[in-house]
Symmetry: C2
Subunit: 198 residues, 2 copies
């Protein structure tokens, strides 16, 4: 039930589950088919059960430009093959809309790119604010041993475009090399570009 | 210099001064003339020097609907007479725009009201998120002994309307009674309404 009155909620609850929320979204491994580059590792994990990879607690607001949609994102620690657990990642449907993150706990990276092929990766640590400007697709990756917790807010009219990323992923992957996160090229992204260039 | 690329900054610096900012706004007692109800206490304080009441560190972004203006607000502890240090408070020029606060440290209250005369006061403590819906004017009040620190974000096209509040203040004041904060009516607000009713 949305209110027109001011409201508050607490971030410091156990596990950073906010004391108030409207929607709880759970993304399990079955919802990430085709997103991890090591498909054999993915299929082996998926066969063992539908592991929970990340969760989002959303506060509901009208989808209007003057509102701010906001909530808490929790990416659990783990890997599919050598690739760290991550969110689906998305552009905004209204491309010219920003998003702001405050990292509350954990360690990770935000992988970002523009439709023009520009890319960026920024590290996330507790107490760091990240500004994702308009037109940058973004995906949270948990490179640590604990939950990666972020508070996020974005304009109410932004919308989510998951399809573009689902087709070819991001240009860059975050993988473990000798136990440390490294930024590497996504071979699938290149293939798609090659086909487009034909 | 505004960038079109993602950027980060740290909130956990000493005194919560963010590690990156574009504007530093300092509000001293001389800029708050007419805002505190005890005018004798105000004039006595102002005569002693131009005390710093609050500061804002802003990150610059284009003033467009898809952007999020954001930064850190620091209200210092203290009182003018029995009234706690507070921000000027404002409506947004585009009234139908929200603002979101994350309280990082200290203790305070957000005083809010609508053009229709509805009002609300919410307590601010570390780890609490406050959503100020569209159309609610808002003012931060520091009721504690330490700095009140909040992270804020609002739509880029919102704008600030300070004039409406400067004319008659908010309906409610936060004053010390036996050393504790209390919400009381603002007599000046009533006078103005009386005149409007004539």
């Amino acid at each position: 039930m949305m209110t027109d009155r001011p409201f508050t909620f607490e971030l410091n609850a156990p596990g950073f589950v906010p004391s108030r929320y409207d929607n709880h979204i759970r993304r399990t491994i079955s919802s990430m088919r085709g997103q991890y580059h090591d498909t054999a590792a993915y299929e082996a994990m998926a066969a063992e059960g539908d592991a929970l990879l990340y969760e989002v607690y959303e506060l509901a607001r009208p989808h209007e430009a003057g509102e701010l949609l906001h909530g808490i994102s929790i990416v659990h620690p783990g890997r599919v093959g050598d690739e760290y657990y991550m969110t689906k990642g998305h552009f905004h449907t209204v491309l010219e809309t920003a998003e702001i993150y405050v990292c509350l706990s954990g360690q990770g990276m935000m992988v970002m790119e523009t439709p023009e092929g520009d890319w960026a990766v920024e590290a996330l640590v507790a107490g760091r604010v990240l500004y994702v400007p308009p037109c940058w697709a973004h995906r949270s990756v948990n490179t640590g041993d604990d939950d990666l917790i972020t508070f996020f807010a974005y304009p109410g009219h932004a919308g989510h475009d998951y399809g573009t990323i689902e087709q070819q992923g991001f240009r860059k992957l975050i993988v473990a090399r000798d136990g440390r996160p490294e930024i590497v090229d996504n071979p699938r992204w290149g293939e798609k570009i090659m086909r487009n260039d034909e």
